[in-house]
């Protein structure tokens, strides 16, 4: 044996060196793999109406601040559909499928609003990259948000904020907002077939669960990439920059951020309302797991009582779902949504006085459970108002503010209301979310901050025939869209129903209990 080794060793050594040299040579001579993604020059008729950035580089996704890690467009054929992920991750898929994230780019309310804005300007479709960057990132990153769509469509672009739109993220800028996320959507995925995924699960986990990505998507700052929104001249008529949505900053400056409670803790808890109650009780333990429902405040999109009209509003049915399963999942999430809304607010009596001919009192609208303002988001459509009814000892109504006309779908114009108004260049209120002609933003009443309250004062005249004790009935209402929007933009006479966040009754003169 020793003889054999000694005799063949030189040949083995030479062969080994030659093999290594051959491999190195082949590696050097082999053409490098093409860079993943698509070059701007390879997308015919792509419009760049906003010009280059300060460094002279093109801004293909502007006015959205969304970017890809390597600066190239995504190949639509290679963006994984959530329906593909569902094969191995059915629980996560079924949590995500009824969510607003899943229909962010396809729901009819959103689509019609974008179309109405696009029609306002010759570069309207390109301006709409501002909206689509957060609502339909797959479409923007593939280069299809363009007046001439020369890029092939794919299922993935209809899925709004799908799996890969979070699980490839490498950077977020919550101060900049407007979609300020960087996605490694071209190079951060593994592209393995299903059998290979099973054979090499670690590669898949590395691709979609990179350490940096997992750390990033667990932070509130990640959400701030889209839940911070400002208008400027790229997408509106606002000079300078004006905040439209400050949800991330509201949370960042709140007790919740100071105590390590993140957006994900509440909105991805398996039972968000129960988790909010847990936090309110002082128990800051994290949820046992993070579900992908992203439960929020839009109760309308989960109102299964609307039947097929709900399918119309939600923009149809996602790939990978049947009608029956879709309805079942929506109904389940609807319950969670309504429960979360009911956990958010409270009402209390403040400073009451029964004087001759007058009733004076304050109603405190309290933000008890939300880690951001109430209401939050872009609140030109979503708004909250207080309804107050005062009755005398006989039950007769002597004062009513904030009534809702369920026939015309209109809120009392004199109601105490928490809403921001879009104002056009002529100083007129824009009731139907026309961002592209908005010149200024003003607040009717700013939202109630986390763990804060906003006291509304009432001074009610009492006629001599009305006698006490008096009863004050207070209801706090929330509504996801104005009727003008439904009619002008959605082109339906659907009355958008309001949702009662909380209600309370108080006696005047106040009892000791109510005074506390």
């Amino acid at each position: 044996m020793k003889y054999q080794v000694r005799d063949h060793a030189p040949l083995l050594a030479v062969s080994s060196v030659l093999c290594i040299a051959l491999l190195i040579g082949a590696r050097l001579l082999w053409p490098p793999p093409p860079e993943p993604g698509v070059d701007l020059a390879d997308i015919p008729y792509y419009q760049l109406p906003f010009g280059p950035d300060d460094a002279g580089l093109p801004r293909p996704f502007w006015p959205s601040r969304m970017q890809t890690e390597n600066g190239r467009f995504a190949d639509p054929a290679k963006i994984q559909s959530a329906a593909d992920c569902a094969i191995c991750h059915p629980r996560e898929f079924e949590e995500w499928a009824p969510s607003l994230h899943a229909i962010a780019g396809r729901d009819t309310v959103y689509e019609r609003a974008v179309e109405a804005n696009e029609d306002l300007h010759k570069d309207g479709i390109e301006k709409a990259r501002f909206c689509e960057g957060c609502h339909a990132p797959g479409e923007v990153l593939a280069g299809r948000t363009n007046r001439f769509k020369s890029v092939m469509p794919s299922d993935a672009e209809t899925e709004g904020i799908s799996c890969v739109m979070c699980h490839t993220a490498t950077h977020a800028d919550p101060v900049e907002g407007n979609g300020a996320l960087t996605l490694a959507i071209n190079e951060g995925t593994d592209r393995l077939s299903n059998p290979l995924l099973l054979a090499a699960p670690r590669d898949h986990a590395r691709a979609f669960g990179a350490k940096e990505t997992n750390a990033l998507i667990a932070k509130g700052d990640f959400c701030g990439g889209c839940h911070t929104e400002t208008y400027d001249t790229s997408m509106s008529k606002v000079e300078g920059r004006q905040h439209v949505q400050t949800t991330h900053a509201e949370w960042r400056d709140s007790w919740y951020a100071g105590n390590g409670v993140t957006c994900q803790d509440c909105h991805m808890a398996p039972d968000p309302a129960a988790y909010v109650r847990q936090i309110r009780s002082g128990d800051l333990a994290k949820p046992e797991r993070y579900a992908h429902n992203f439960v929020g405040a839009n109760y309308l999109m989960f109102n299964t009582g609307l039947g097929s009209n709900l399918t119309f509003l939600r923009g149809g049915i996602l790939p990978g779902l049947s009608d029956a399963r879709n309805t079942e999942l929506i109904a389940r999430q609807g319950e969670a949504t309504r429960a979360l809304l009911r956990s958010a607010a409270g009402l209390a009596l403040r400073g009451s006085e029964v004087a001759p001919g007058r009733l004076r009192f304050g109603i405190a609208v309290q933000n008890l459970g939300a880690g951001h303002n109430l209401p939050t988001g872009v609140i030109d459509q979503k708004y909250m108002w207080l309804e107050v009814v005062v009755r005398d000892a006989t039950g007769a109504e002597i004062y009513h503010s904030g009534a809702f006309d369920a026939t015309r779908g209109e809120t009392d114009p004199d109601a105490v209301i928490w809403r921001e108004d879009f104002i056009d260049a002529d100083g007129e209120r824009i009731p139907d979310h026309l961002t592209f002609i908005t010149a200024a933003i003003s607040h009717v009443r700013t939202g109630v901050p986390p763990k804060g309250e906003d006291v509304v004062r009432y001074d009610v005249a009492v006629t001599s025939d009305a006698t006490g004790p008096f009863r004050v009935e207070a209801r706090l209402w929330y509504r996801v869209a104005t009727q003008e929007f439904a009619y002008n933009t959605l082109k339906t006479d659907l009355v958008i129903p309001p949702f009662e966040l909380t209600a309370a009754e108080f006696a005047l003169p106040a009892t000791d209990e109510a005074r506390q």
Binding site: G316, D493, L494
Partner: protein, 351 residues
């Protein structure tokens, strides 16, 4: 010119006159372009005719109001049911006229010489804006002149006829007689309505006249297919929504559109087959085959769906959604491929 020069000249004349593939391709393209023009003219004439009907309907409505000396309440009290029918008729005629224009909007907006009509009829801003202003003044029957008031379809008449603009509402009225007045139930300003309808008829006729002298070209053909095909997808989407929307909510634009889809899609296929296919086939036969097959697939889908609808089929939400998505997907693929072909052939896409 020497002997060689004569040979070159003879060869040049031969190439121009002799039958052959190059010549045949040019002929086919020219014939196709002429068909594009005929398609556009046909729909332009239909728009003019529809705008004329709308003007007549507004004239009748204004006459009813005028019979009561402009007192809308008195007119409603005396002729409520008649006014309700007149408003409904105005809205139906408006929708038809708007659809007629949308069919050719892609071509009109894409031709520089015609673009002003797109601004006046459908897309232009009022004079208070700095760009894309609809350059015309609107004279109303009472002599009032509105300088550069914005486009006629979506800027003036749609918000007026549907009560979307508070300033145009003259009297809230229970148009459908169900005992309640909801948003959109109202009598609108007859003076503004009639003036705008007259302007619509005038500008539609002017567009038709200019269209007659238009000389179509390759860029127009590509542009028209690239712009019109996704519009067809929108029509199919409206059909899809009309399958969804039921019960207590009504949508005033959602109604079955399959007949429109077939008409428009056939026009697109005709334009592609006759004016564009010869160009694409010469540079990329495979791409031409795929585009042609996709048009056949789309038309097959729509015609089959329409045949089933005519036979009494009712489409469930899931099926209507799947059909709508499939149609949109095919249309999107067609547009993407047509644009890729245009890029390969150096065609400028306008619009």
């Amino acid at each position: 010119m020497g002997r060689n020069g004569n040979l070159v000249a003879a060869a040049f004349v031969y190439v121009l006159l002799a039958p052959g593939p190059v010549r045949a391709e040019n002929d086919a393209e020219l014939r196709g372009l002429e068909n594009v023009k005929q398609f556009t003219l046909e729909h332009s004439r239909a728009l003019s005719a529809q705008a004329g009907l709308l003007e007549q309907a507004l004239s009748t409505y204004a006459g009813t109001i005028e019979a009561h000396k402009g007192d809308y309440a008195a007119a409603w009290a005396a002729s409520g049911p008649e006014l309700s029918r007149q408003v409904a008729n105005v809205r139906d005629l408006w929708l038809e006229a708007s659809n007629r224009y949308e069919t050719i909007e892609g071509i009109v907006a894409g031709i520089p010489e015609m673009a002003k009509y797109d601004l006046i009829l459908d897309a232009g801003n009022p004079g208070t804006e700095s760009e894309d202003v609809a350059e015309y003044d609107l004279t109303l029957p009472d002599g009032t002149v509105l300088p550069r008031p914005g486009n006629l379809f979506h800027g003036i008449t749609e918000p007026l006829f549907w009560g979307m603009s508070e300033s145009g509402i003259r009297l809230p009225a229970d148009l459908d007689g169900d005992g309640k007045i909801v948003r959109g139930e109202m009598l609108f300003d007859a003076n503004l309505g009639l003036g705008a309808a007259r302007a619509l008829a005038f500008w539609a006729t002017a567009l038709e006249a200019d269209m007659t002298s238009w000389k179509p070209n390759r860029a127009d053909a590509f542009t028209s297919v690239a712009v019109m095909t996704p519009t067809v997808g929108d029509y199919f989407g409206e059909w899809k929504e009309s399958q969804f929307i039921s019960g207590e909510i009504g949508a005033f634009v959602a109604r079955s559109r399959l007949v429109d889809v077939i008409g428009i899609m056939s026009g697109c296929r005709k334009m592609y087959a006759e004016a564009i296919s010869p160009v694409v086939a010469a540079s990329d036969g495979d791409l031409d085959s795929r585009i042609t097959a996709s048009f056949e697939e789309l038309l097959g889908l729509v015609e089959d769906t329409y045949a089933r609808e005519q036979a009494g089929a009712e489409f469930g939400v899931e099926e209507a959604d799947a059909l709508g998505n499939e149609a949109q997907d095919i249309a999107d693929r067609i547009v993407a491929m047509v644009l890729q072909a245009a890029a390969k052939n150096g065609v400028e896409i306008r619009g």
